[in-house]
Amino acid sequence: MIKNYFKIAWRNLLKDKVNTSLNITGLSVACAVAILLGMAAMFQLSYDGFHERGESIYKMVRTEQTPKGPKAGTVHAAPLAPTLEAEMAGVKHISRVVQDGTLALYNEKEINMDIVWVDQDFFSMFSFPVLHGNEKEPLADLNDVVLTEEGAQKLFGSTDVVGKTFNLMVNGEEKPFTVSAIAKDIVPQSNLDFQIAARFESHREYNEAKEQWDRQYHEVFVELKQGVLASSFEQSSKSFVDLYYGEGIERLKRDGATADENGRFINLELVPLKDVHFASFKNGTVEVSRSRPYLIFGVALLILFIACINYINMSIAKTAKRLKEIGMRKTLGAQKKQLFFQFWSESLFVFIISISIGVVLSLVFLNDFKSMFNTQISSSMFWSPMFLVGLLLSILTITVVVGGYPALLMSRLGTIQSLKGKLESSGNNQVRNVLMVFQFSIAIIMIVGTLVLWSQIDYMRNKDLGFDKEQVVSFPLNGKRNSHDMVDLLRDELSGNAEIVSVSGSDSNLGLGKDGSRSSSGIGFEYKGRIVMTNFLIVDHEYVQTLGLDMVAGRNFESAADSLGVVINESMAKELGEQDPLTSQLEIEDGIFYPVLGVVKDYNFKDLDRAIAPMTFFMSRQQDLTYGFVKVAPTNMANSFVALENAWKKLEPNADFLGSFLDENIDRTFRQEKTTAKMISSGSLLAIVLSCMGLFAMSLLIVQQRTKEIGVRKVIGASVGSITYILTKDFLKLVLIAFIIASPLSWYILKEWLQNYTYRIDLSVWFFIGAGAIAVVIAMLTIGTRTIRAARANPVKSLRTE
């Protein structure tokens, strides 16, 4: 019997090649894309999931109620962790963590490496397995370091290096460290990424900061003892906070901050490790949002859904052709159950073929997908049990529902009716119409999304950020020399070159450089009886002109000798609240007052999803610069870049030059938006293609079903145009309804999304009209070819087929 079913199924598929190939192509492409997107989303969701004790590890966050609203920070003061461990019950392990880049030196080699500065507990908490060397206590000694295999290969050219010694640059000096263990390479879905792990106490700031409660520069991870709940830990930390942050709380009260609903000003909160990747602190509270991976999942499901709708619609439409068979089978004694199983197994057959092709396609295009959407998924993820179970479940659901529904309809038809070839189709058409409206709504929402996303990206790219991004190159000062000396040397070296306009440096990059690291620092100080918070940038005296910032008041730094004053931005001037900001004196260090020399116009030193905050430029040779900035003349920029690189090579022959123009850096900061936009736009492209495939197949079938009507109309004297209109009208109506449904929905979704950006485009009606027009035009083209051909056919022929 089953053999017979498959025989019939196979011949049916072969007979209707256009329909079959449309169905199988649609389903397998949708399946492949859904698998890839599903894997990308799974990858995102699996961040930090590999730590065996992850369930009880938390990242510590401090929230504060400031006069300007709540603030949340993940950086802490050095004494916090040891004090917590000593005084709070429930702490099993605790580690301070600074993620950093450092210069490692071995023999002649100078390499920039990713390093974490951590406490001894680090390797007991996190699952970074030690391969050889001291497994129990890899960081027992202050000079011990753990290298990953990759790090060892890079530095030593071998992984058999336990016990060997090399140097790290700390505070401008080379300090020796001993390799105590080699750890496995860090997996891509880890937020803690390093090649070297060294003791926190060896970090350059530690000696100065170890006793200071107001100097916050590192993160804290804590593992709670079994059975200790995060909430109860947070609860019992209150008295601890009152004790150690008492001064801060007093100051907040004095400056007019309002307490939170529990009457607290400062809280320590714990964010579960698995949430860390999805946590944001932008609005001053801890917000965990997995919307991005879920969005990707959503797109995957929608695409599958569209393909499934196609299949359902085509199967139902095709019923008309098989009425005779259904009737005959019933006459021969087939029961509903048997007919249902027959038609369902036909669907199953198509699904098995499509899904197999889909799986193969997804594996074939895995690498292209990875590079296009820069995700780190691998085929091994595909074979993970969770993914396979999910895949099987969805396949099962799809086959049961998508194959089952048309099969159910077919098996229910009456014997005599189907033998006569009559089909009361009104009910089915209703279902079909609803499904098609749904399909096109999805497509339109995705088109609007694509248009808006790209416009926003375009807007961010072209927005005037207030500094000169086209002509300025930035590069990490990752060499052995003192950073201030290096900037001076470069300036001298390049002074003869007419195409180099100016050279400067600061301790933070703009945008995201090739080294991929970002940092920012801020300070707070007493000003006229209240606390003023500001971003804080160590600069060199040519910083303002190098970046092309505009001065709005006072003067710029003129030489290295101006280091006793500061330059602030407009927001900071507003924060100070003075009539003339140039009269202010800022107590940046205890007892030392720095006069404000000048005010620069506000510029976007952070990403465009944030408003411009107060900023203070400070010149100090005591604190390192980390990035150099060189402004070049607009002509021959490539040559100037090479000249700069050569100068670098001459001064720092062993260190890599990782320079890039600031506009590239800015571009890099919305890599995530771009990836999302790429995914959504490919998704919407696919959605529209699939929807049109469905539409095309439907128009084919409808035209076939209405051949007689078309013939009769023509004989009576209808024109080609009027017949095309009649045939097209019904479908266009559906697209229009879809447009009406999709517009407000997409408006709402995108409005919410744009809220993430302080600087954003307006949601003009044209996005919606454009998307609607695209959908209508594509739909018209799809149906048009078939309907016009049908309308032009000789009526004698079409009538004869009856």
């Binding site: 009737g327 019933k330 021969l332 087939a334 509903k336 048997q338 005599i416």
Partner: protein, 221 residues
């Protein structure tokens, strides 16, 4: 007695009025009869045949088939009953286009859940008997109308039914092909004792039968 219809009524509602398709039909059929149902278009011939074949329902009356009262049976038992005892032959053959002659013949056996080896034997037997062994791998579209109807009759017979219902079996055939099919029916009826009820327009075909039932506007006359 093979079957008995008592006071069968069938109607449809049209514009608030009952239009009768069958009106008070009483009929007894003995095993081995060859009955022809005649009447003008729309007189209810096919409807009556479908009711007898249990493909269609009726609104009033009683129907006994082999002492089972059909009107009280559930669909499942009804379909068991007719697939066991009744074979159908249609004017437009209703062979399945996607199946070969051999596979078309096999299909009723599949629904009767007959084992593979036995199926093969029965199909081979039937092909042999109707002299269509050479055509077993052809598809219906590759056969002439007469040949298709031959396959249709073979398919109706393969499950060894007690009753064959034929709805204008020769309606689409030329006179020579009709003659052949009617001869075949006659032979089946006389030599194998198969009961046959046919609907026909032609006096000549009706003459093959042993009894003629005339219908007009759903009534027996």
């Amino acid at each position: 007695m093979l079957l008995q219809l008592r006071n069968i009524f069938k109607w449809v509602q049209q514009g608030g009025q009952r239009v009768f398709l069958l009106k008070d039909i009483n009929l007894e059929v003995q095993e081995g009869e060859f009955i022809s149902i005649m009447g003008p278009s729309g007189s209810g011939k096919s409807t009556l045949l479908n009711v007898i074949g249990m493909l269609d329902t009726f609104d009033e009356g009683e129907y006994d088939f082999l002492n089972e009262s059909v009107h009280t049976l559930k669909e499942k038992y009804r379909s068991n009953l007719y697939k066991e005892y009744i074979g159908f032959v249609f004017q437009s053959y209703h062979l399945l286009d996607d199946l070969t002659v051999e596979e078309n013949l096999e299909m009723p056996l599949l629904y009767k859940k007959i084992k593979g080896s036995e199926r093969k034997a029965l199909v081979a037997d039937m092909l042999d008997r109707f002299n269509i062994v050479g055509k077993k791998d052809l598809f219906p579209a590759q056969l002439s109308g007469g040949q298709q109807q031959l396959v249709g009759v073979a398919r109706a017979l393969i499950a060894n039914p007690k009753l064959i219902l034929a709805d204008e079996p020769t309606g689409n055939l030329n006179s020579q092909q009709s003659e052949e099919i009617m001869q075949l029916f006659k032979k089946l009826n006389e030599e194998e004792g198969v009961t046959i009820i046919q609907v026909t327009h032609s006096e000549k075909n009706a003459a093959y039968g042993s009894r003629i039932i005339n219908l007009l506007d759903g009534r027996k006359i």
